[in-house]
């Protein structure tokens, strides 16, 4: 029986492949589509956070209201991005909750400090907006961390390799180095946003490929 057009598409997550499958079409959702969703959602939230930060900086918003609106937006982003990387809400574990809560606790502290500095006139608007971008980067990193933790075991004789892809951003020297390293054994390259000076401003991606051990030897160091 054909699916009524009013119904939303359903999905299945396959831990063995680490991919989502559209139940109606039977097709896998391309990982690029997943990372596009990640980017689109973060961009939309960043626009709102930019507006509220600007209003707060201009004295048009109560410091507490700005702080709580930003906290709420960040918590939602962290959770959504973690779920996206894990394979859906059902796959988030108590360990994930603890990890996300730990990140948020630190971010909330930084937000409060920033709010105090803005209220005291110690932070310019461009500085404030740059920090907002960095907080978004922390939420973005959550996707990549959770995804990495949920990648399936490579089969016998197979291995997983990873490669850094530069995104649309002003790149720090470290990210360019990671890109220039080409394909590397999994675990060598950090997830985007980690271990680089650009920190939360990083807009790189990391891609994975599962190949035979012999093929990996050929690919290491290349970008092919």
């Amino acid at each position: 029986m054909p699916k009524p057009s009013s119904l939303l598409d359903g999905y299945q997550y396959e831990p063995g492949t680490g991919r989502y499958r559209n139940l109606a079409s039977g097709r896998f959702v391309a990982r690029t589509r997943i990372t596009d969703l990640l980017g689109d959602a973060l961009n939309a939230n960043e626009r709102t956070m930019t507006r509220t930060a600007t209003a707060f900086h201009e004295g048009a918003l109560d410091p507490r209201d700005w702080l709580n609106s930003t906290k709420l937006a960040l918590k939602r982003e962290y959770l959504q991005n973690a779920a996206l990387g894990a394979g859906g809400w059902d796959r988030l574990t108590a360990r994930d909750y603890g990890r996300i809560g730990g990140h948020l606790s630190a971010e909330y502290g930084r937000l409060a400090s920033m709010a105090e500095q803005i209220a005291a006139g110690e932070v310019t608007l461009p500085q404030a907006l740059n920090r907002i971008t960095m907080y978004q980067g922390g939420a973005r990193r959550m996707y990549y961390e959770t995804e990495r933790e949920n990648l399936p075991e490579p089969g016998r004789g197979m291995t997983r390799i990873a490669r850094r892809i530069l995104g649309q951003a002003e790149h720090c020297f470290r990210c360019v180095e990671y890109y220039d390293m080409g394909w590397q054994p999994e675990g060598v390259l950090p997830v985007p946003g980690a271990e680089s000076p650009c920190d939360g401003n990083c807009r790189c991606e990391i891609i994975y490929r599962t190949v035979t051990v012999q093929a990996a030897d050929v690919l290491f160091g290349t970008k092919g």
Binding site: L37, D62, L72, K75, G87, Y97
Partner: protein
């Protein structure tokens, strides 16, 4: 900043793109929070960092409501695990 009424604060948040129900919630939470001599109480600020089932439900609802998420992908995060269904 001139003192604003609760309704004015809610309206400002809505004008900045915050959903009305979220704006109400934010102002309610703010009213329970202190900001004295330009300082927050760090314990108050960090109290909401832990993740609860209510937070998951809230983030899930927000994903559905987000204009950035195309209709086709609204149920993506509700995916069921394939192995469990086999």
């Amino acid at each position: 900043m001139p003192s604003l009424t609760r309704a004015e604060r809610v309206q400002r948040l809505i004008d900045l793109g915050i959903a009305p129900q979220d704006a109400e919630r934010i102002v309610t939470e703010s009213d329970m929070m202190t900001f004295i001599n330009g300082r927050f109480d760090v314990q108050q600020v960090q109290a909401g960092a832990e993740i609860t089932d209510a937070d998951i439900a809230d983030a899930r609802a927000d994903w559905y409501a987000s204009r950035a998420i195309p209709r086709q992908y609204k149920r993506l995060l509700d995916a069921k695990v394939a192995d469990a269904q086999a």
